[in-house]
């Protein structure tokens, strides 16, 4: 019995049910293995990576914006602090100037007082020295007059001494 023409054609092209199934199984194994072991996990990883990159870029953008804000805030704080410090320095300088002026006035007053006291003291000492000197000189004059007037009478001598003492007291 001859085989149908279609079967003959398929056989001449090498179509064989057993080999067809074998090749089908071979390719199916490759398909399933690649699907389950490669494509599915790899696509998940690629998606995750793409999401991470997108998130990272968004975060970087946010961080950049925050950095700009922080920079502006820093500039504002520094500017405020600088102004505050400047005001503080000015205030301190004014206070220091006032204190200095006060101290200067006080010191001047103290010096003037000390000078006055010294002057008074010098004046007193000078007077005392002068009085002492005057006494000494009186004695000397009296002695000298006595020596000079030893040759004259008592009345003239007395008058001369009195006059000398009177002159001395008058000077």
């Amino acid at each position: 019995m001859t085989e149908p023409a279609s079967v003959g054609l398929l056989a001449s092209l090498g179509i064989n049910a057993t080999y067809f199934v074998a090749q089908l199984i071979n390719f199916s194994i490759v398909l399933v293995v690649m699907w389950k072991w490669v494509y599915t996990p790899l696509l998940k990883i690629m998606d995750k990576r793409a999401k991470d990159i997108a998130d990272g870029l968004a975060n970087a953008k946010r961080a950049e914006s925050a950095l700009v804000d922080a920079q502006a805030e820093k500039d504002r704080i520094v500017s405020d602090a600088r102004a505050e410090a400047h005001a503080l320095i000015e205030e301190t300088r004014a206070k220091a100037e006032a204190i200095r002026a006060e101290k200067m006035t006080l010191a001047k007053k103290e010096i003037e007082t000390a000078v006055e006291e010294a002057k008074e003291r010098i004046k007193g000492e000078k007077l005392a020295a002068f009085e002492s000197l005057k006494g000494e000189i009186g004695n000397l004059v009296a002695l000298a007059t006595e020596k000079v007037a030893s040759g004259i009478n008592d009345k003239d001598r007395k008058t001369l001494v009195e006059k000398a003492v009177s002159d001395l007291s008058g000077s």
């Binding site: 080999y19 090749q23 699907w35 990883i45």
Partner: protein, 279 residues
């Protein structure tokens, strides 16, 4: 020199006779399993060399896939089938260019003559494999169609009973005539589905088999240097055929997962009509 269209039996294991094309496809299958296992074991968010290379290949493929599907989501959905077809066909084509293919064999007595039957033969030069892949390609497109659109919407593209029923309800002879014509066209579409399988399988088989014949003839005429340009051409043919098969499958998958012509237009029309009411 004899290069038969059918793959030749070379040895048997446990009563199962292996053909030389089956040997190649089995080696390739084992290589894919090893590759997939190695990639899976080393897979991480920070890729190694192997993963990086494969990801680069996928990104390259996605560039072309997106042009056909129009969306990255669909490209990702169809990648397992289309990507596997592409890589499997590409590598099976290139395996046929490796030294030993066609030259290492076993001596057999065929029709009274002692002949060297090659141990290795390009897997795609066996119609059994190309037919199996074409069947998977077309059947998966129908499966995707049924999942995406629903069983009845999908099959109504081919057996348009719903269209006839709608036309009958209008009692408009013109509409009934058009529905009958569409019903017949649907049947023609069914035949074209079978034609897809035939054309996909025969195109790949024909190209690879012709390449194998060409290489065998050229190599038997001049062993050195002269076959080199032909080998270069076969490398390109390998890429082209893998691309054609994969892209056609992608087109089938995309078409089958898209709503039928009239329905989409009707839906758009319906939306346009109701848009002002919602606004």
């Amino acid at each position: 020199m004899n290069i038969p269209i059918a793959a030749e039996p070379v040895f048997s294991i446990g009563g199962f006779v292996f053909t030389n094309a089956l040997v190649n496809s089995t080696i390739l299958m084992i290589a894919f399993v090893i590759f997939a296992g190695a990639l899976r074991a080393s897979m991480s968010v920070i890729p190694g060399k192997l993963q990086n290379a494969f990801e680069a290949a996928l990104e390259f493929l996605f560039g072309y896939f997106d042009q056909v599907t129009g969306s990255r989501e669909k490209s990702k959905r169809f990648l397992p089938i289309v990507g596997t077809l592409f890589f499997f066909i590409l590598l099976s084509n290139w395996m046929g260019l490796l030294p030993g293919t066609g030259s290492i064999g076993v001596w057999q007595t065929i029709e009274g003559h002692r002949e060297l039957v090659p141990l290795f033969r390009p897997a795609s030069s066996d119609l059994n494999l190309t037919l199996a892949m074409a069947l998977i390609s077309v059947l998966s497109s129908h499966l995707i169609g049924m999942v995406s659109l629903g069983f009845f919407t999908h099959w109504n593209k081919f057996i348009q009973l719903g269209t006839i029923w709608k036309a009958l309800k209008t009692l408009n002879p013109m509409k009934i005539l058009v529905a009958l014509i569409e019903f017949l066209v649907g049947f023609i579409e069914l035949f074209s589905e079978a034609a897809k399988v035939v054309s996909l399988s025969l195109r790949l088989f024909g190209n690879v088999f012709a390449g194998e014949v060409l290489m065998t003839v050229i190599s038997s005429l001049v062993a050195f240097f002269v076959p080199l340009p032909f080998m270069a051409m076969e490398i390109i043919v390998g890429i082209v055929q893998a691309t054609v098969f994969a892209m056609l499958t992608l087109v089938y998958l995309t078409i089958m997962s898209s709503p039928p012509h009239g329905e989409g237009e009707h839906a758009e029309h319906h939306d346009a009509e109701h848009a002002p009411a919602h606004a």
